[in-house]
């Protein structure tokens, strides 16, 4: 029996199964608390709609966080991508909706990567500094064509197109992690950068690639985010930082369950759990402050209780 349990824990499906059980438990708890306003099938689809958006950003951030780095510019990149889309729709139409946000993400992600490598200062400082620049940049873009998306271009904010784009993004992330050198090398750099270097891994190059990929996924995320929200106002004074946290929550799950299941699946289920908790508190009529406290505490509790670490292990 013990060896069966040990084998089960080492299985790729262990983490996924555990997360699914947690999802059901959380759904059941809120369903009992607010049976009329929480958890009906249409509501579950709505939670998934939110989860899909943030999970795409979470996938991008995963490439950075798995190396032990951080990108604090996700929110500002997202806003810049959305406002660039709105600005260029009159000239480029659907091309602006699909291609422009990805291009903006690629370019800003690459800027993050190059700046990080050339400046030799911690990623959190580089991306926070650049975030201020991207925020200001967005204010100018907003002057071009306002901050609202034309109703004719809201296609990707709802099913089935949001799901199709999300599945393409998840497939891309899965493919990169499993079937290219990038997945192996970002993991290797995170495990021991010096050994990775000795094995011929061009560490700077793969760090730059990871930042670029993060930007790319934020660009894809912005396609759904803009369609869902239909408008985006520019933010300054680091207010865009608030947008960093929801993708980051999914990334937490991806990292915490890395050993027990595929990160992409863990990120998606993790975001779904977070979306359910948010919606559950709203259904219970809780104020936002209490909502945030309980969501944060629940997130930490889930990750702590489900990722069994050896006592005394170093946790960074």
């Amino acid at each position: 029996m013990q060896s069966f349990l040990k084998k089960a824990r080492q299985s790729q499906w262990y983490g996924v199964g555990l997360l699914l059980v947690i999802s059901v438990v959380i759904w059941a708890v809120f369903k009992i608390g607010a049976p009329a306003t929480f958890g009906a099938p249409d509501k579950l689809l709505s939670y998934m709609q939110t989860a899909l958006i943030y999970a795409i950003g979470g996938c991008g951030l995963y490439f950075i966080c798995v190396m032990g780095l951080f990108d604090f510019s996700i929110g500002s990149m997202l806003i810049a991508a959305e406002l660039s889309t709105i600005a260029l729709i009159p000239q480029a139409g659907w091309v602006a909706v699909i291609v422009v946000p990805i291009l903006v993400g690629v370019v800003l992600g690459l800027c993050n990567g190059i700046a990080y490598i050339k400046m030799h200062i911690p990623s959190i400082i580089v991306t926070t500094g650049l975030s201020l620049i991207y925020e200001s940049f967005s204010v100018y873009i907003a002057d071009v064509n306002g901050t609202r998306l034309d109703n004719a271009f809201k296609l990707f904010g709802a099913y089935p197109w949001n799901l199709i784009v999300a599945l393409i993004a998840f497939g891309l992330c899965y493919f990169i992690l499993n079937y290219t050198k990038i997945g192996t090398y970002t993991n290797a750099i995170g495990a021991n950068e010096l050994v990775a270097k000795n094995m011929g891994v061009n560490v700077d190059k793969y760090k730059a690639i990871a930042f670029t990929l993060c930007g790319t996924f934020v660009g894809i995320m912005s396609i759904l985010y803009l369609g869902y929200g239909t408008a985006q106002t520019p933010q300054t004074g680091m207010l865009s930082q608030a947008l960093n946290f929801q993708p980051l929550m999914g990334t937490f799950f991806g990292l915490a369950f890395k050993k027990y299941g595929h990160p992409v699946v863990s990120i998606l289920i993790g975001e779904y759990i977070v979306a359910m908790i948010f919606a559950g508190f709203v259904a219970l009529g809780m104020p936002t402050t209490v909502n945030n406290i309980v969501t944060g505490a629940t997130l930490l509790a889930i990750v702590t209780l489900t990722t069994k670490r050896r006592n005394g292990a170093v946790v960074k």
Partner: protein, 497 residues
């Protein structure tokens, strides 16, 4: 038949700041031989082979491997030129599968149009593991699922499957159990039989003499001489390494055990899942107590348990006055010192200065505000007491040789005026001269009434230095032996296996 040269090294030179690590060494290695490279810690052996295998760049000089001049940029580049290395410390990476580790940096053979054929990589890795008789290791598994020994075996496969022309085995044996060593020696013999070359670095003279055909000696970065293994004995090798006659009597010569006093620390019915089962022992003041056994017998956990660093421990650990030791802070506050077997990861701040490493546990005694000059003086005093080979105490510990790193660890605890010293593998990977220094220090501390626990896989060290030896087997104490002139290796081995 004349021997053919496999590797021709000419004027190899490397400097790290003011340290001349390798000083214009020229040396030939022949096909079909195991060529040992020996010398004290800091003699330049690893620096020399690290240049050959791309771990560090070549300062000056040239390596000509089987007629081709090489200057590898990294380990994988060296592999492509026919040079491979198995290192002393862990060389596999967490978070990657066994297959990914085996082909890290060399995935291009599985990539078509930018797409990695993961299935083919796993299949090839598994075939290679199977061919080495390691079919219980699954290529698809995360490497984290395997223990240190199995991971080392994966490294051996990784470094040898492509039949390198030169295989460097750098102090690898100290990390392996008897079975692991046998596996490694099989691989080395096969390389020799195939007409290729092994460069073998080891501090174990008996191992060097039994495995090697030729032995070259380096001292302070300079080439000294090359001898045939048939023509020398251990004593001659030691003399060549150190540059003067080494006394054979660097172990203790007393046999009365009269210094042992009150109990300094004891453990009672201590268990740690998978490591220790109801282990009890007393360590006395003025005593050197040895713990011996096979690598996986649990003995390394004894030191951690006594230091409060065993996190799933049950049972009691207490000082002679009854103070319970349940965490590291309490242990340090009560003058307990611990030197781990895993020196780089558990004992040293590897990316920090000698000064910080020596002063760290003593800062609390220095008072506030902390004075930089006071810290420097303190670090200098104890680094000099331990004869650490260094430029100054601002030097980073990562630049020191294994022996000098261990001296820094000991300087730290001597400086902290520790009364109880728990030393796990204190002379692991250390040359005989530093060994003699450490043994002399241990004996001196014993005479001062300090209590010393030595955990060691070196049987002669236990017999030569300890007042009592507890031999462990299967996570339990299997017997106790008293210090005696008549005590032999066989007495310990009988209790170990």
């Amino acid at each position: 038949m004349a021997k053919e040269i496999m590797l021709h090294a000419v004027g190899i030179d490397k400097q790290f700041g003011p340290t001349h690590a390798v000083d214009h060494v020229s040396l030939d290695f022949y096909k079909g031989e195991i060529h040992a490279l020996i010398g004290e810690n800091g003699s330049g052996k690893s620096t020399f082979t690290n240049m050959l295998t791309g771990i560090i760049s070549i300062g000056e000089g040239t390596f000509e491997l089987d007629g081709e001049q090489i200057a590898p940029k990294n380990q994988v580049d060296a592999n492509h030129h026919g040079a491979a290395v198995i290192v002393q410390e862990q060389g596999t990476l967490d978070g990657l599968t066994v297959a990914e580790n085996m082909f890290l940096g060399d995935e291009n053979q599985f990539i078509t149009g930018g797409i990695k054929n993961t299935g083919a990589m796993i299949k090839k890795a598994q075939e290679l593991l199977d061919s080495y008789g390691l079919d219980y290791i699954k290529a698809v598994d995360p490497i984290d699922n395997y223990n240190f020994e199995d991971r080392k075996l994966v490294e051996i496969v990784k470094s040898t499957w492509f039949a390198p022309k030169v295989l460097v085995v750098d102090e690898t044996t100290t990390a392996l159990s008897q079975n692991g060593r046998a596996e490694l020696f099989n691989v080395m013999n096969k390389v020799r039989e195939d007409g290729r070359t092994v460069i073998f670095i080891s501090h174990d003279m008996a191992e060097v003499l039994s495995m090697s055909d030729t032995i070259s000696i380096l001292r302070d970065g300079e080439y000294i001489t090359t001898v045939s293994a048939d023509e020398v004995d251990e004593e001659q090798l030691k003399t060549l390494m150190v540059g003067r006659e080494m006394s054979d009597h660097y172990y203790r010569e007393d046999y009365d055990g009269s210094l042992a006093g009150d109990v300094a620390i004891s453990m009672k019915d201590v268990s740690v899942p998978g490591e220790l089962e109801e282990v009890s022992l007393d360590l006395h003041k003025g005593e050197i107590l040895g713990i011996g056994g096979l690598s996986e017998c649990g003995m390394h956990e004894v030191g951690k348990a006594l230091f409060g660093a065993s996190y799933e421990r049950t049972g009691e650990v207490e000082l002679g006055d009854g103070t319970a030791i349940n965490d590291i802070n309490t242990a340090i506050n009560h003058s307990i010192a611990y030197a781990s077997k895993d020196r780089d990861n558990e004992s040293l701040l590897i990316a920090d200065t000698i000064q910080d490493n020596i002063t760290l546990p003593s800062l609390r005694k220095m008072g506030l505000p902390l004075s930089k000059s006071k810290q420097k003086k303190f670090a200098n005093e104890y680094a000099e007491l331990m004869s650490v080979k260094m430029v100054n105490t601002d030097q980073f510990v990562s630049a020191l040789s294994g022996g000098n790193k261990q001296k820094v660890v000991l300087a730290r605890w001597v400086g902290a005026e520790s009364e109880i010293l728990l030393l796990d593998s204190p002379t692991r990977g250390i040359d005989i001269k530093v060994k003699a220094d450490i043994y002399a220090l241990m004996d001196e501390m014993r005479k001062q009434g300090k209590a010393i626990l030595v955990i060691s896989e070196e049987i002669m060290e236990l017999i030569g230095m300890c007042d009592r030896i507890l031999v462990m087997k299967d996570h339990k104490i299997n017997g106790e032996l008293q210090r005696s002139k008549e005590l032999t290796e066989q007495d310990l081995i009988a209790l170990m296996v």
